[in-house]
Symmetry: C2
Subunit: 280 residues, 2 copies
């Protein structure tokens, strides 16, 4: 797997890490960065995350693969804008945490003949922001979910599979709606719970927190705009997941009100049984 | 700070770590372990966590300091049993995560003249269990909250402060009820939320979890009996904390239902603002 020119639209932590991984592993000869924040773009170039900077139109025109790494609410718009400047044969994808809304918006627009889009979601990230925190191993041994559009040719899926594999990831191809239901529970709901837990804690009680509190609330440090965008894009699936969490917390509440040892231990076992199946 | 004989009642992860830290730092000449599980006790002795094993009565009779490290529901009973065998001048404490219930139970019983108890809660731990996971640095740079009884002489508080400081901890003296309100929010509620989040996840979706899910649910691996005991011992304060979490989740729910970007961002900011004040 080797492409000539990779365009990264949105050079933050994720975009920068795609760029770095592709350069370090020799997957792209040249990585061109696009970002509305010209200072951030200059920093990414100076620090060697990308090879060059360009306008969206210029980068799209010379790219073989365009990876859009902007907040989820803006991805489809950047995909459609970039696609208009792409040569036939160019593939576009993204790294957004939600997939159905992006696919629907892209499908509602027009891609030039021979230009194709399919979604990607690397299950990797950090609560840090900005390209200076980029890591060339961010995707190593991580899962990337690829979500095709109805019209996506198999060859495009194969190409994206080869690209992410070359960055060290495992790839799973999945329906976009199913992806969104899964990550609502495994990623978006935990973020919301971590944020809620953190916000309840008075500042002068932070001294009385241990590693448990730190672990459980760590992701609450994530970027507010990024996460507001994700939560709104996937709000239907998240509302269903939230309903299940609330119902589970009511079970805990009943068990506590009734001082029900057996009931409490059953609830705790069910959580432990699931979590014990993952590495610490 | 140096004592002759330290008795550890309940040689699990916490008890073993108190023993190891006291031996490594030369705080106790001799550490005697007591445990109903004779196999676990033999292992702790063979692996050098403790110097010797004894019955509760014998250990209490020769100890200068007795640290009860059993599940919170049983601590007061062990304190009262041990105290009956202690010589005047002996101090008893514990490492339980709740304090008011233990203090009330101990105060409802009888301590021999010159034998004193005050509670301790080291804000340190691990989701691992058993003395073989003991660490001599578990308390280093951690906070230990000491909660005196009404009758506890100042000299006893000073002695406990010196003991925990000698193990590398910072010490804060606090009212037991206030301690319980604080840890309900900073420790017990996060445990309950982590457990609830983990339990909602179907096993075949675990592949789609990243570091966020792992961090947020890590403490759900904690021992079920240990945590059931903690949650029940502090259930009044936890129910108040749980009520606040549920209300916060309802705020998130409303913001999602109304697709209220500003409201959602305000909620996320409040969580991030608190969590950003802690180290990652």
């Amino acid at each position: 797997m080797r492409i000539d020119t990779l365009a990264i639209v949105g050079v933050g932590l994720l975009g920068g890490s795609v760029a770095l991984a592709a350069r370090t592993r020799g997957v792209a000869r040249r990585v061109v960065g696009v970002d509305r924040d010209s200072d951030a773009l200059a920093r990414a170039c100076q620090s060697g995350v990308i090879d060059a900077t360009a306008s969206l139109a210029d980068a799209a025109g010379e790219a073989n693969l365009v990876v859009v790494c902007t907040p989820v609410g803006t991805i489809a718009s950047f995909v459609l804008h970039a696609a208009a400047h792409c040569r036939p044969g160019t593939i576009l994808t993204d790294v957004g945490s939600t997939k159905a809304n992006i696919l629907a918006e892209v499908e509602a627009g027009t891609l030039p003949d021979g230009v194709h889009f399919a979604g990607s979601h690397p299950l990797a990230g950090s609560e840090k922001q900005g390209s200076l925190h980029s890591r060339d191993d961010l995707f190593t041994d991580r899962l990337v979910v690829v979500t095709p559009a109805r019209s996506t040719p198999d060859g495009v899926i194969d190409h994206l599979r080869a690209f992410w594999s070359a960055l060290g990831s495992r790839v799973e191809v999945m329906d976009a709606e199913q992806h969104d239901r899964v990550v609502a529970l495994t990623s978006h709901l935990p973020h919301l719970a971590a944020s809620a837990l953190a916000s309840l804690t008075p500042e002068n009680w932070l001294d009385f927190t241990g590693t448990g509190f730190r672990d459980t609330t760590r992701i609450a440090c994530g970027g507010v705009e990024v996460w507001s965008s994700i939560l709104r894009a996937n709000r239907q699936a998240i509302l269903l997941a939230l309903d299940r969490l609330q119902s589970r917390l009511e079970d805990f509440e009943s068990a506590l009100v009734n001082n029900d040892r057996k009931g409490l231990e059953q609830l705790l076992w069910e959580g432990k049984n699931v979590r014990d199946k993952l590495s610490p």
